[in-house]
């Protein structure tokens, strides 16, 4: 059992990916992030490692990227996402959890960047935006299927399937 590896498999006909991400709600806002070179925003999270539960992935990614210990709640949504990225067909399963952060993590509602960190060669930036379809649209939030759903997610697991034939980011 030496070495960590991510559940991401490249095969001749396409790629399979397993991701987990955090929905962090606070006073009508939600935390989003992006790589500074990307035009689109996503929920904080990352790829699941082999042998790791999706909840543990979210805990690890929050610790690595935000430097705080998250309280991971229930599964809010599981999305089967089919898209093409950089000419490659992708089949992605993504698990979204409701997460609470400790009060020490900065909360700003003026749209400014509240946190930055490095992830390999990428610089990541985080901010809080209102949980509305309009605000998510303005930030080119992906996956787009969650723009309408995020404001309405409850504690019931929502199961969504999304087929996108045009080029799209993986987040």
């Amino acid at each position: 059992m030496s070495g960590r590896y991510m559940i991401s498999y490249d095969l001749p006909p396409g790629r399979f990916n397993l991701r987990a991400a955090a929905i962090v709600p606070r006073e009508g806002h939600v935390l989003i992030h992006r790589s500074t070179v990307d035009p689109f925003w996503t929920l904080p999270g990352g790829r699941v490692e082999w042998g790791e539960s999706t909840c543990a992935t979210v805990e690890r990614e929050i610790e690595e990227e935000l430097g705080v210990t998250a309280t991971v709640g229930g599964l809010a949504a599981v999305v089967e996402n089919f898209f093409t990225y950089a000419g490659q067909r992708c089949h992605e399963l993504a698990y979204y959890f409701t997460v609470h952060l400790p009060d020490e993590f900065p909360f700003q509602t003026d749209g400014s960047i509240c946190h930055r960190c490095r992830d390999g060669s990428a610089e990541l930036e985080f901010k809080w935006i209102p949980i509305t379809a309009q605000a998510l649209d303005v930030h080119a939030f992906v996956p787009a299927i969650l723009r309408d759903r995020l404001p309405a997610l409850s504690d019931v697991v929502e199961h969504l399937v999304f087929h996108e034939e045009v080029e799209g980011p993986t987040g």
Binding site: L11, P12, P13, G14, S53, V78, E80, F82, H91, V157
Partner: protein
Amino acid sequence: MSERIVLSYRHGVRRFNYRVAAVIIAEGHVLVCREDDDDYVQLPGGRVELGETSADGIEREIAEELAMPAEIGPMIATSESFYRAGGEDYHELSFFYRAHLPGQGPDGNWPWLLRHDEGHELKFYWVSLKEDALEAISLLPPWLPGFLRQEPAAPVHVIHDERAGV
């Protein structure tokens, strides 16, 4: 993605598996399947293919395994399982769908149906949801009997970890 690629990968002893299964209940009995000489039974189902939705996967698996008309209902559970079997460590994702076989149910035959699929002998049984009949026939994964007897109204997320020290 015309080529069929099953979502099951092995790195040394570490295997990742992505499965779908059907919860088919009729007259207080659930349909289970024994493959070859396994000392346990599972719900009907199989591995999802690359590029295939889980819903299409269960429809295909039911068609292949049972070869009879089926109505696929909602997803009722998604699970992540960590266990050891056949010398391999498994990290397995599963989606469970409610399904219905019109006009079919327990008829007193044991097994109810004998099929052959991909070189395996499949024996199907209708097993009572009452008492511990599902445990007695060793339905896996082990959280299923309790779940099936008290199926929640909304989909649930189950993490089942058999690894030592967890």
